[in-house]
């Protein structure tokens, strides 16, 4: 069982019911569950969307798009059915927050899905979990069955004449399927290759119908926004970044774990206070602030860095999925870069040339480089390749591969140079990366 952690600075909103048996529907109701959905049923779509807008809730899947605004894009009238799609593909390295929500509070996801459905006028929602999360899928399936049994889902939810159904779905191993349009393809039984945009999902999504797609954490947050009120929720966070965020702190810290902290919370404090500092009292070398696709930050760059979408963006990286990966001074950055690019090489769907060929090339070059067979030209070449992938690919996965690579070569060029001239790896660790 994944360990739950706690810290006094945490503001427990989404994690409020963690560890309290809320996977049980009666317990969930006892803890105030499904009241938000009932309230929304009474208030109607416009009110819900206004609340969401006022809450400043921004998508927790990575891009930080304003949730209320996204919902408002769905056309009121549509010939085709509308859908809600919950993205629980959670595959960005460094990210395991949705894992805990599925485990401890599955009903919050169902409730959030119902509310999203009410807001856009959908009758059907899908909750998609990555294939590896089988035990969580079973928890979700049980929760959905219980919600049906109680009449919270079905033809007449909460005794109203409103219909809302939920279907759970499993993936089968593919990071790219987390990309919203690839996710729809996967759910339609196809290869997880993204779709051409426009049209955007809000207009033409699943089965051609208007679709709202949100990250699992975003959806789990929704009932809390309704319960506590948009203004109160927004007040917890920083400017234009409402509420809290589940930060998954991993890597070289004393107390890794998922912490719920207000938006804008200082990154340095996350590492040194909340997570107990760098493991073994070592020095901090670098930190990846929001999952493996976000450019690495140096210690001096995090001094006053508040963890919200805008501030991290200004610092030249991204808040991403909230996965903070802490790297100590005993770590080889070249190896870290290699392991990162290997992941993207493995996960590239292969649709477009720059990503398919670029990730493959970068992986090969970095493998050779790290093994001690690099040349000075390679460093420039790696940078050139990454620069030429950036902004040129069909979907953001190409950027997700290029951005961190650029960060590593630019910020740690010296360390790359140290690998040259018969000095294989100054850290002499693992060189092979067997994932193929």
């Amino acid at each position: 069982m994944p360990r739950l952690v706690s810290h006094p600075d945490e503001v427990k909103i989404v994690t409020r019911r963690f560890g309290q048996g809320a996977a049980n529907i009666d317990r969930y109701v006892e803890l105030g569950g499904y009241e938000a959905a009932k309230k929304c049923l009474a208030q109607g779509p416009e009110w819900i969307i206004n609340e969401m807008k006022a809450s400043n809730l921004r998508g927790r899947g990575g891009a930080g798009f304003a949730t209320g605004l996204k919902w408002s894009f769905v056309p009121k009238q549509s010939a085709k059915p509308k859908y809600v799609l919950v993205n629980g593909d959670e595959s960005e390295p460094g990210t395991c927050k949705d894992h805990l929500i599925f485990l401890h509070d599955p009903h919050s996801i169902i409730e959030g899905t119902i509310i999203a459905g009410l807001a856009i006028g959908a009758k059907l929602g899908f909750i998609y979990l990555r294939g590896e999360y089988r035990y969580l899928l079973e928890i979700m399936e049980k929760a959905v069955a219980d919600a049906y049994a109680k009449g919270f889902l079905g033809k007449n939810i909460f005794g109203s004449d409103t219909e809302f159904q939920v279907i759970t779905q499993t993936g089968a191993g593919a990071y790219e399927v987390g990309e919203e349009s690839a996710l729809m393809e996967s759910l339609e039984g196809k290869r997880g290759v993204p779709r051409i945009k426009p049209p955007f999902p809000a207009v033409v999504g699943l089965y051609g119908g208007p679709t709202v797609i949100n990250n699992a954490e975003t959806i789990a947050t929704v009932p809390h926004v309704i319960s506590m009120g948009a203004a109160a929720y927004a007040a917890v966070g920083s400017e234009r970044n409402g509420g809290t965020r589940l930060f998954g702190v991993s890597g070289h810290v004393e107390r890794p774990g998922v912490y719920e902290l207000p938006m804008g919370y200082n990154l340095k404090k996350i590492i040194y206070d909340v997570a107990g500092g760098v493991r073994g009292g070592r020095k901090l070398k670098a930190v990846v602030p929001g999952g493996s696709s976000t450019p690495v930050l140096l210690p001096e760059e995090i001094e006053n860095l508040g963890m919200d979408f805008d501030q991290v963006g200004k610092a030249g990286s991204m808040l991403g999925s909230g996965g903070v990966v802490v790297i100590d001074d005993q770590t080889c950055i070249v190896e870290f870069a290699l392991r990162t690019i290997s992941f993207y090489q493995h996960e590239s769907c292969g649709w477009c040339i720059p990503c398919r060929e670029g990730t493959d090339w970068l992986k090969k070059s970095l493998t050779r480089f790290h093994a001690g067979f690099g040349t000075a030209k390679d460093i420039d070449n790696i940078q050139y390749l990454a620069e030429n992938m950036l902004g040129r690919t069909f979907c953001p996965l190409g950027d997700a591969a290029a951005m961190p690579t650029l960060g590593f070569v630019k910020k740690f060029r010296k360390e790359f140079e140290d690998h040259l001239n018969g000095k294989p790896c100054p850290f002499a660790k693992h060189v092979e990366v067997a994932v193929v």
Partner: protein
């Protein structure tokens, strides 16, 4: 949609709103590079070559997916864009084998061209390339993954274009491959369209691979010699020690009535030309009863002497003539003129596959009611009755599918059997096995034989209709159905027959009772003056010719490019007392029974016109050369000459001068005729100063044959030109028509197909038990 104005590279352009930027640019002459975009197929945005900058948009945009709107501003050429394209090519070349010197596509490879253009010449790449073995998927299709740039054109062409869906993409990322439906083999129509659209040398054809370099070939456009759809085909020809050799067939300039399309027969079925069994010397039966090689002089003199002797002794009625479905209009015309005026017989026929005479008769007096092949690609509503175009008329099937897919045409299918085109149909009417004759009445409201159906209601609601009739129709039923359509406005017809020039054979009067243009022998009009010596009574049809041979009444039989003995029910023994002359390219069953065999040139080795089953006339141009053989046209002229005929009465050569070759030659510019002569020579056509120039006969056809008034400029420019069937009085039908549809499929082509190793291989491959369970259809 309304036109919008937008700016590209500072130029103001106008196009209908929603046009793809790449199309708008190309139309305006602004080249946008593209690997994955292919007009008419779904959009991919995968190769990223077409990137352009759009004002106020942060990222480069793909021109292949951007639709134009009012006031947009684009830049398609800037250092930034050039660098993006260059980098994409560099990335591609990272895993590309760069074996251009041996690659089939070398010289006509889009990747090579782009590398040249964007200068991604220096290799940044120091890593091991992914190696994978080349795979053979079928006799026709080979796949080389390292060369594949994953543009997905092949997949879309096969799926969206062919509706076969035999190709897919498997694995992901850099390990992605194109995969065939049979695991490691390809179970499909073997059309080679996937090879054709492949921008690089990843898909290669079994017949062409590693044979030559593109620049070592001459490319000559002509007309396919197989089915009756009449695709334009470009033959790649290389000099060889026996003349010249055809190495490849494709439709490289995408012009002609078939646009992109060629089927397996058009693409791979040219190899009969190189078959070692080709005849290359005349054969004459010796005293021992053996066929032995002879000189042309001897064979011609011998055959002519016999013919003359028989005609003079027993009259023309003791002679029969059987013409071909594959020879040119000029040859067919000449053959019947020779038969009627020199041999003085109307005993002339061909192996009829469809009742074209009946079709002409049904349409008598109504103009503008026939449809050309092009119409099948654009008509908003089509009614297909009988037939199975997917198998027997691949181009028609392609046109219908494309029309439905891109223009949302409505296709209605009425058929006794299930056919694949029903997948594109808006409505299907399943006829009882014997239901065809009742269809006209049914459409008029009778539910006696065919039960009332929604089909009729939707169909009749159409404002216009293109009716395509299969060979199930002939005679009275055909007439009844056409009459049904003629009662309505905006109904046009097409009628399906089988071989490359079956329609031309009928149009040119290879019929015992009908002269060229379906003019009755009994009412010959101006032909009576033109054809001195022609008997007044209709002659015998093919079965009767054989019957009279059996009775010992047929003294001579001239068979030009036909193999009647191979047909079921035909008895070779009937010919034992008949002097038989055969022109053919192989020693067919019929040729084996001949007394004299002349080695003939195939359609790919001569010039002339052919008429497809829709009445579109096209120019077949001489592509290859072969020593020892002669076109049927020349053989006939020589035969007539050897019989002592003044050949000028048969072929009006040199009479009106070469200016008559080009209807519009008296233009403003002096010297046009000279230039035309040069053009003719350059295109393998002889200026008609010799009796062997078929164009001299084309003049006569135009003059005498109703419906064959053609736009020569278009015809000689390589385009299809419509003909109109003539006017046939009701009485003029032969009773014993003996029409036998050939039902050639995707890999068969009558006797000719049996001599194509390529088609035989494909047939064998597709019949293999491993492919018995067809995946896609």
């Amino acid at each position: 949609m309304a036109d919008v104005t937008f700016t590209v590279d500072g130029k103001k352009l106008t196009a209908p709103a929603g046009t793809l930027l790449i199309d708008a640019c190309r139309k305006a002459g602004i080249e946008i590079p593209a690997f994955c975009y292919y007009p008419g197929l779904s959009l991919q945005a995968a190769c990223r070559m077409c990137v352009v900058r759009q004002e106020k948009v942060p990222k480069l945009q793909t021109a292949c997916t951007t639709t134009v709107a009012e006031g947009q501003v684009f830049i398609t050429d800037s250092p930034e864009i050039t660098q993006a394209r260059k980098a994409t090519i560099e990335l591609l070349l990272g895993n590309h084998p760069l074996d251009c010197p041996v690659c089939d596509a070398g010289g006509e490879c889009e990747l090579q061209d782009m590398t040249f253009k964007y200068g991604a010449g220096e290799s940044l790449y120091a890593e091991a390339k992914q190696h994978r073995e080349e795979q053979q998927w079928s006799p026709a299709v080979f796949y080389d993954r390292p060369r594949c740039i994953l543009c997905y054109r092949c997949i879309r062409m096969c799926g969206e274009g062919m509706d076969v869906w035999a190709l897919g993409v498997q694995n992901r990322g850099a390990r992605a491959v194109i995969a065939p439906n049979g695991g490691d083999t390809l179970d499909c129509e073997q059309c080679g369209m996937c090879i054709d659209v492949c921008p690089v040398g990843a898909l290669t054809s079994g017949s062409y691979r590693y044979k030559t370099r593109p620049w070592e070939m001459n490319h000559i456009s002509t007309v396919c010699t197989h089915c009756a759809d009449g695709c334009k085909v470009t033959l790649g020809v290389r000099q060889s020690n026996i003349g010249s050799e055809i190495i490849r067939a494709d439709n490289r300039d995408k012009s002609g009535i078939n646009g992109d399309f060629l089927c397996a027969k058009g693409r791979f079925g040219f190899d009969f030309v190189e078959n070692p069994e080709r005849l290359n010397k005349p054969l004459v039966r010796n005293a021992n009863g053996q066929l032995e090689p002879a000189s042309w002089e001897h064979a011609l003199r011998f055959a002519a002497g016999k013919l003359k002797e028989i005609r003079d002794a027993r009259g023309g009625s003791a002679i029969g003539v059987i013409g071909s479905n594959l020879t040119t209009n000029e040859e067919n015309y000449l053959l019947q003129k020779f038969a009627r005026t020199v041999l003085q017989t109307n005993n002339i026929d061909h192996e009829r596959t469809a009742d074209y005479a009946g079709f002409a008769r049904a349409l008598a007096g109504s103009q503008g009611r026939t449809a050309s092949m092009r119409d099948t690609a654009t008509a908003p509503a089509i009614l297909l009755i009988g037939g199975n175009p997917t198998e027997e008329h691949p181009l028609l099937a392609w046109n219908l599918r494309t029309n439905v897919r891109l223009n949302r045409a409505r296709l209605y299918v009425a058929n006794a059997k299930q056919i694949k085109l029903e997948r594109q149909a808006k409505a299907v009417l399943r006829l009882p096995a014997d239901g065809y004759p009742a269809l006209a009445a049914h459409l008029d409201g009778s539910d006696k034989v065919i039960a009332g159906s929604a089909f009729r209601e939707t169909l009749l609601a159409e404002e216009s209709l293109l009716v395509i009739l299969g060979q199930e129709y002939r005679g009275a039923e055909l007439e009844e159905l056409v009459k049904w359509g003629l009662k309505r406005d905006n109904v046009r017809f097409a009628f399906l027959g089988d071989h490359a020039n079956s329609r031309g054979a009928a149009d040119m009067g290879l019929l015992p009772d009908l002269l060229p243009g379906y003019v009755p022998v009994t009412a010959p009009g101006q032909f009576s003056a033109e054809y001195p010596g022609m008997p007044a009574a209709p002659g015998k049809a093919l079965p009767d010719i054989f019957a009279s041979a059996a009775k010992g009444e047929l003294a001579a039989l001239l068979v030009v490019g036909a193999n009647p003995i191979a047909k079921p029910g035909m008895d070779a023994a009937a010919l034992k007392n008949t002097f038989v002359i055969v022109h053919d390219i192989f020693l067919t069953e019929t040729a084996a029974h001949a007394d004299v065999v002349f080695p003939a040139a195939s359609l790919y080795e001569k010039s002339g016109t052919v008429t497809n089953t829709y009445g579109d006339v096209q120019l077949a141009r001489k592509a290859a050369d072969r020593s020892g053989v002669k076109p049927d046209f020349e053989i006939l002229v020589r035969l007539a000459g050897a019989m002592g005929v003044d050949v000028k009465t048969l072929v009006p050569f040199g009479t009106t001068g070469i200016t008559a070759d080009l209807g519009q030659s008296r233009g403003a510019q002096a010297g046009e005729a000279d230039r035309h002569a040069v053009w003719l020579a350059a295109n393998g056509l002889e200026p008609k100063l010799s009796p062997f120039d078929p164009l001299a006969v084309l003049d006569e056809i135009e003059r005498l044959v109703p419906g064959y008034k053609m736009d020569r400029l278009n015809l000689f420019g390589g385009n299809d030109v419509p003909s109109e069937p003539g006017f046939v009085p009701l009485s003029a039908l032969t009773a014993n028509a003996a029409i036998t549809p050939a039902h050639d499929g995707l890999f068969t082509s009558g006797t000719l197909g049996r001599y194509s190793p390529g088609l035989k291989d494909l047939n064998r491959h597709q019949a293999a038990p491993a492919l018995a369970k067809t995946a896609a259809d």
